[in-house]
């Protein structure tokens, strides 16, 4: 049984709270949020204690792990404090938008021997995961090309976007991690093109809403990622791994398995799951499950802090490629 304190009780934090509460080997102990009313509401829903400072949890020896789901700019500080308190950590991505803060964090905690797992939950999606396993097993032969399609159903609020770090650090960072996860190789160069096609407002703060990347890995293998901030047919999340012995696809998912056949179209499925919390509900749950199992059994957690750092480095290189119009070496 792992006793966990939750920091951050927003939309994602609340989903984590429910998953912890339902887990047979975990116990939710505390809920912290800067909005104390929200913390109180979530805590009382699960019959646990709302706290007004993170210290109350960090100081409690019964608390073994911290789940950090607070705003990005607090992650580094909380990781450092939790690590120094000897707690296992599951932290939402990204570590930070600023690589220098990430490196300072790494330096600060280098003597803390605690497990730190980054919240790249998509690694735990059963379908994406099946692709990774098929590739790793050699079933598809030598991996030669990887194509990741990652399109959000709609634009987040401009307010969110303005402080998001931009499409590469906020959105494509998931896909950079996925590329590394499946490739098991080192990216060596990246080329990016982007455009503002969905909402002209984004030009104001230098962001793009549509982007394509190609990345070459040390083996020579290639990866393409395409992102859009809007897909009217739903949350489009596909992976295509192509190797010397075949191709394996993680296809999109619809709410039911129903197809319609009418005078205007046949075999029509419903629009896709329309939000990451619905689409990836299994992967959030399985991510937590893996974290709990690893910490209890004393095994290494994955994806690691280093994985989080490398994804950010790729996002920074992508941003640089976009801004300079140059292919960037990694």
């Amino acid at each position: 049984m792992l006793t966990i304190a939750l920091f951050g009780a927003g939309r994602i934090g609340r989903m984590h709270a429910a998953n912890i509460a339902a887990h047979p080997h975990a116990r939710l102990a505390y809920v912290f949020d800067v909005n104390t009313q929200v913390a109180q509401d979530v805590a009382s829903q699960y019959g646990v204690t709302a706290i007004e400072t993170v210290e109350q949890a960090l100081a409690d020896d019964k608390v073994q792990a911290i789940l950090i789901a607070t705003p990005t700019d607090t992650h580094v500080d909380l990781i450092i404090r939790a690590a120094k308190a000897g707690k296992a950590i599951l932290c939402e991505k990204p570590i930070d938008l600023d690589i220098s803060k990430v490196d300072r964090c790494l330096d600060e905690i280098k003597d803390c021997d605690v497990p730190i797992q980054m919240g790249f939950n998509r690694r735990f999606d059963p379908s994406h995961n099946a692709v990774e396993r098929a590739v790793k097993s050699g079933e598809m032969g030598q991996l030669e090309s990887l194509i990741i399609t990652s399109r959000d159903p709609g634009l987040p609020p401009a307010e969110y976007l303005q402080h998001s770090g931009g499409l590469f650090r906020d959105m494509m960072i998931h896909d950079f991690d996925m590329a590394r996860y499946i490739m098991k190789d080192t990216p060596v160069s990246i080329s990016v093109m982007g455009a503002v096609l969905v909402d002209k407002e984004l030009s104001r703060f230098g962001d793009v809403d549509t982007a394509m990347a190609i990345i070459q890995f040390a083996s020579g293998a290639l990866c393409h990622i395409n992102c859009s901030r809007r897909a009217v047919y739903g949350y489009d999340q596909r992976i295509e791994a192509f190797g010397s012995a075949g191709m394996i696809l993680s296809n999109n998912q619809t709410p039911t398995s129903v197809t319609r056949h009418t005078a205007s179209a046949t075999a029509a499925r419903e629009p896709l799951q329309d939000f990451f919390i619905t689409r990836y509900q299994d992967s959030y749950r399985l991510q937590l499950d893996a974290f709990i199992a690893a910490v209890i059994e004393g095994k290494p957690v994955s994806p690691s802090f280093q994985d989080g750092r490398l994804a950010l480095l790729m996002a920074n290189a992508a941003q640089q490629s976009l801004e300079t119009g140059q292919i960037v070496k990694l």
Copy 2:
């Protein structure tokens, strides 16, 4: 909040226990099983009380509902006792294999004004349910033909089969209920053919393992059902509703959305879900959810005792058609 006692802690009973425990508006109070050790194990897993007689639950005023998941031949007795104790009832299908016992039961409880919901969980499967809604809404026009495919991955043990009531009362009964659920009409005649093609042992006790039925409804609309006790590719559960304005299909489901493309085959999906508990886990959960909501809100439950009785009548007619080689009027 609905307080529920569970009678029967076998495979299905345990699934119900977990669903009750996880439900935000239900509370599991007691677990009964003839095997007291099993009852004890399940009860302690959820921190509730194991009881050695059903009376302990029936006599407890705090218990508002009974979930009956005991062997079929105990259903009628437990329904009568629970109904007389004023409890709401969710009972696994079938009510009984003997229609005269079912009718006697109906007679015994005719003055008990309690909700009785029968466990035809497939009505709650999101995909099958989407078919029912599309038909009911008129989206497919006038319903003309319905085709239900229902094939188990493999044969249950001979011991089970021998006391199952036969393929029609044990297996196709689900499909009879589904046909009525989608058709919203009265079946008027049924024709059945069957064969022993999977396991010759079934001939010993007069059962079949492969069967096809056609049923005509009052409107003239037709329904075909096909069943097999073995499908090597997994649990094959499909519905096809065909009307004057189009066709809607509830297709099979695979564990992931992955497809493989190799030198021997393309677009290959994984084998289907291989068991009803996996395939229908959502429908078991949603069935319970509907029961709890209806009882709390004082609304009618569905499918009703009468639905259970009519499905058995159809199964009996099917058995008669098989045995006589005649089309049977209903």
Copy 3:
């Protein structure tokens, strides 16, 4: 090189003319039609001779084969005359609507040693044919169930229907032949239900527009066929063969491989091919190819006259089952 005379230059006859003209090993010699202008038009299109009596072709020794695509009630007479003239025959289905005429025909030609192939072209459809080959090869294990869906896009004119012999002899006869083709077994009983759901006019002449059959074969294996005279989404032609080692489906076909993904539906394909001449254009061509090859090489043709006769017997039994409300032994 096979020299062929075409009798009948209606819609299907003209398609045959084009196929013969394009075939590397066939030569179209004559075209006959009761409408001499039509015969003239088709003949001149291919630079061949229009004839006003079939005798002109039957008397010409260079003519080796006759393709009969005239109205059904002329088939028996033309088969007898062509057979007695020693010509190989490819005759459109059915032989006749009256089994006594078919039997008399058989008696008349019993001493004529000429190949007679019946135009059950669907046997040559590449997808249906792949099902037959997979079953025959044992790839699907022992065949246990067969399901044939056969729905026309729309009703033919009432005038046509009134003299069609009814749904079973006009439409489901194709599916009876397909069932025998794939099953390679003897049908022993048939049960049928039907209804007038599409066009009330059909009641006037005792026909139905919607029907379902179940058929048992000698091995115990079962077959279901469902037909409708109207499917708004196009020409619905599917076969499902289910055996001890798996299932193989011949699925529907759309004009292109395009799918659409919008806010209202995803993965939507176009409506199906909307007519048998479009849907089965390959099978008409391959049927002719098989006939030409068999005649040239002196090998048996297939499907045979006997296949045509047996399909009619099944249709008659189906009609009897519909009319009597009884399961009929074959």
Copy 4:
């Protein structure tokens, strides 16, 4: 009726010969090939005249059009001579591997007012074409992203590859044309990465067998192309057009519509069409059809010489991007 002379009777030339012979509005008049025996064989198959010099056809006033299917390095010379002889021209792609020769050709024929259609047959594929039409009609809203997957089943012989001009000028050139065809916009920059993953031999002559490109168009819209010289599951040819109102896909095609469902996989289709002549047989036929119709009706042909030139410019820029590791402006 259009009278055509065929120059080049290799594999593709012979397919063109068959298509011309079968076309209702075309007449094959002459066949030329440097291998006179091959020319003789093809000519006699269609009952036409084999010629030993192209002059014989160019000098014949009855010849209205020339189909050029000779080796690439002869295209420019033949185009110039045919154009000066006033013949309409359908020329296989590419015009030439050397842009300076292409430009000189353009200069030479600038006063010849003859239709010149380039053999980018994929524009005529019914599925790809349906994508183009849907985009053009606005059905998908504003086009934002385009993804083209283009993988050959296997490597051509090293001898062929060595003189092919490299992957971009030989293979991806089709996709560059397709990108322009669907985008209806001007490409402004291209970035390419490539690798030798299939056959190390290619390194000897500086070619790659695996490549990815991203291209930006003037509107900001993005296009990704991925190519491989080997796909074990068959000829992989897909197009994905993504716009503000939805996505339309041209999916892969299998020889039949059959799916297999066994203990190891479900819904498995056959491997894809394994060769461009099989996969694109309809588009070769429809390309010819469009050429014949346009020339007869005096309408502009498409794709034009200029389309061929622009595709080569894109291929050259791709090659430059690969060699320099830079994004190239167009």
